[in-house]
Symmetry: C2
DNA sequence: CCGAATCCTCGAAGATACTG
DNA sequence: CAGTATCTTCGAGGATTCGG
C-alpha cells in the first residue's frame, strides 16, 4: 500500500494503479468496455451506435488506448468495404469485472453519498 | 450492469459509478485518501507535506469534494492559530478498500500490460 | 495555519473535413 | 466502413496574492 502511495506520488515512475484508473476514468473507455462485454464482438460503427454520442475520433482514440494496454483486441478483415471487429481480451474482461465490483459498491453507498451532499452547504 | 451502461450514457442522470470513479481519478483524491488511511488523522499542512507537491488550492478543492460526498470528515478547532483535522469516514475507508482491491488487481496485470504495450506499434 | 479569490496554462475532448 | 488530419473549445489544475 505504501508502494502505491509512493508510486503515485512520483508521477514519473510507473504506477499500474494510476494507469488502470486513468484507463477507466476517461469519458468513453468504460462505456466501450461495458458495450463489448455485453455484446461480445462489435464492429466499429456498431460500437459507435451502441455508445451513442461518442465522436468517431474519440472512439478511435479510446479503442487504440484499450488495445495498446491489451484490454481490447482488434481484428481487421481484408474486405471491401473494410470490416474491423473489436472484442474484450481476457484481461479486458477482468477489468470489466473490477469496474463492476466498484459499481456495485458505489450503488450500495449511493444513499449515504446523496445524504452527505445534502448536508454539505457550500460557503 | 445494463443499469450502469444506461446511466453512464445519459450523463444528465445520476451515475454513482461515474461519480465514484471521478472522485478517485482526479489528480489528488486517491493520494489524499491513502495518506489519511495510513495516518488516521492529519492536519491540513501535515497532509499537504505528506502528499508532497500538491498546491494549497488543489488540496483544499480535493478535500472539499471528498467531504461533500462523505468520504472525509473535517474538524475545526477554535484556536489561534487555527487547527483543522481531517480523517476518513467509515465510507471513506470503504472507498480506500475498493481502491486497494483495484490496485492489487492492477499490480497483478502489470506484466501483461507492459508486454502488450511493447507489442503495440504506433502507426 | 488554513484557507478564498483571481488569473493563467495546457491537454482532453469535440467539430469538421478528407481518404484508402 | 473505418478511419486520419486540423482546428477549436473548455475546464482541471497551477501560481500568486490576500484575509481571518
Amino acid at each position: 500500500m505504501k508502494l502505491i502511495l509512493d508510486r503515485a506520488k512520483d508521477q514519473s515512475k510507473l504506477c499500474p494503479v494510476r494507469d488502470v484508473i486513468n484507463r477507466i476514468s476517461d469519458k468513453w473507455s468504460l462505456l466501450s468496455i461495458l458495450a463489448l462485454g455485453t455484446h461480445g464482438t462489435l464492429r466499429f460503427n456498431a460500437l459507435k451506435k451502441e455508445i451513442g454520442d461518442v465522436s468517431q475520433r474519440m472512439l478511435t482514440v479510446t479503442l487504440r488506448n484499450l488495445e495498446e494496454d491489451g484490454f481490447v483486441s482488434r481484428k481487421i478483415y481484408a474486405e471491401v468495404p473494410p470490416r474491423v471487429e473489436y472484442q474484450l481480451t481476457e484481461m479486458g474482461q477482468g477489468l470489466m469485472q473490477q469496474a463492476l465490483q466498484l459499481a456495485d459498491w458505489a450503488n450500495n453507498q449511493l444513499p449515504e453519498i446523496i445524504s452527505s451532499r445534502k448536508k454539505f452547504i457550500k460557503n
